[in-house]
Point group: C2
Chain length 327, copies 2
């Protein structure tokens, strides 16, 4: 580990979300030594945002012995370009929605330490490699199941960034071609994300409730209020329709993973994010569909794991892990 060469025991992680910006100071074992947060919005410019961050950071940096103890900073952020250290046209960030913000450089100059940035799914993948269930692995894929479906792909022990820094958008491979595919937020149809995100699960529920008159506990609530958690709870109570929704979701994910194996032949698929709380309800149909659909040469080789990072702080840990990776 690099911190032993530099004798600096900590890195800063910033989980930059649309609503909150959460900071942690983290050691090489993944223990969070100090944490703070500010609201992400409400700033006219990126410079104002960075100033507010630095002010909040000074307090926790002081708590761990000053900036001299800190090797680097990692940021997980939407629309982040790793190569340039920029946030580009991020629709949910008031100070970055219509331009390119060199956020890594801005933090680096303010703090005097190296700063690297990538998107949250890539940060999760590095987090699993540094602190989580992927320790020692060189080829694996993290799939984040939240509002959307994201991914971080590690090959030969390195994150796959591709030519332009935007590789690893596995939520947007096409699962159902042509007009039958669901409309996706990316403007296309049939993307994995439209079926297997939390919102995709809720959409499947509403479709299935409207299409049939089968009984279900989910009929006790307004269709537009149903969440993936409601579906998981109903399934846990033995609701057949709710179970079928997770079967469908897991089957779609397992078939997608079979295609991903043909690409990079990972030793593990690691699932991360809110929907993973559904446990075997989602993991079992994933494994079954994978085994049924993967090429014989890959069958039985890959592990299917759930994230080893603590849920509440997983995103901060992932972001901080990017800091350890800076050469």
């Amino acid at each position: 580990m690099n911190e032993q060469q530099s004798n600096k025991p900590y890195v800063i992680g910033l989980d930059l979300g649309g609503t909150n910006s959460v900071f942690g100071i983290v050691d090489a074992q993944g223990d969070i030594k100090a944490t703070t947060a500010i609201k992400t919005g409400g700033f006219a410019t990126a410079a104002d945002y960075v100033n507010a961050c630095i002010e909040a950071l000074q307090v926790i940096i002081g708590q761990v012995g000053g900036i001299g103890t800190i090797k680097a900073m990692g940021i997980g952020a939407p629309n982040a370009n790793y190569y340039n250290g920029t946030i580009e046209f991020a629709p949910n960030l008031s100070w970055a929605h219509d331009g390119v913000v060199p956020l890594a450089d801005m933090f680096s100059q303010a703090l005097g330490i190296p700063v690297a940035m990538t998107n949250d799914a890539n940060a999760a993948a590095v987090g699993e490699m540094v602190y989580g269930v992927a320790r020692g692995m060189k080829n694996f894929i993290v799939i984040t199941l939240g509002t959307g479906v994201g991914s971080g792909i590690v090959v030969n022990g390195q994150l796959l960034y591709g030519h332009d820094g935007f590789a690893g958008e596995l939520g947007h491979v096409t699962m159902i071609r042509g007009e039958e595919g669901r409309l996706c937020g990316c403007g296309r149809t049939g993307c994995l994300e439209t079926y297997c995100s939390a919102t995709g699960v809720a959409r499947t529920a509403r479709e299935l409730l409207a299409k049939t008159d089968r009984p279900s506990l989910l009929r006790n609530m307004k269709a537009e209020d149903i969440t993936s958690l409601d579906v998981a709870i109903a399934a846990g109570k033995g609701d057949n329709l709710a179970n079928e929704i997770y079967q469908f979701t897991g089957k779609m994910l397992g078939e997608a993973c079979a295609d991903f194996a043909a690409f990079s032949s990972p030793e593990a698929f690691i699932f991360f994010g809110g929907m993973v709380k559904a446990g075997e309800l989602i993991m079992k149909p994933i494994r079954e569909a994978y085994d049924a659909h993967v090429m014989p040469i890959f069958r039985g080789k890959a592990q299917f794991l759930v994230s080893g990072l603590d849920g509440a702080s997983a995103a901060v840990l992932g972001a901080s892990a990017i800091g350890w990776e800076i050469q």
Copy 2:
């Protein structure tokens, strides 16, 4: 280039096919200085095969100044495992169909030089990187369109081998799910290869001729004799049905490439193999379908190229390129 460090100006390439084993001695510019070949079959054991190869090789090694001028050997072979240097259960090789043959080690011991081996599509990718149109590129995908559909994926300037050495089987991503998908040689259905290989094109032709009574030059021949070349020739003569077959094939490939972009965001897709001779007939619908289906963030970024390696010797050049890559 490594040959400058070692002062050895040549590598040996072996294109190990089911019928012929073709050898070339190649310099760093990709010029083939000497070549020879033997039949691949007819040997009882792998040792007999290697002995026959060495006998043939001695002649051309002598022609270039002896083994002291040769840095390494690269082999492109079916069912080759790069990590172990083995050929594993290759159905078309009499001396390797029911076991694991450590072919790289056997050649290395016989010749006293390092030997590396991979499959032919991976060899083609390294060939493009060392001598062809991918010189200077670090992220690209070679797609081989022949009897099957193969692929070699380069990320961060390295071939993607995956956990087990078998990554990059893009001919076997699923394009049409469920019962409608065509049965594939791999035992599954709907694989890209069943539509976009040379045999896939002929299959599309037979299906379309049987399903409709539309006029076509292809009706002048027996349906079972139609090849992808016949379809290309008919299309060149303005045959509508034949054109439609290539439209369909290219569309399928372009949509597949759109998914591949979401995976590794390459700067180029490079097409290789016999079917590439169809030129714009296949390349135009590929580009059009890609532009129509790729995520907006990737649109307009990737180049679509045809192989820069001379057709007749491309496979030997690809194999030899593996030799330069040995550290």
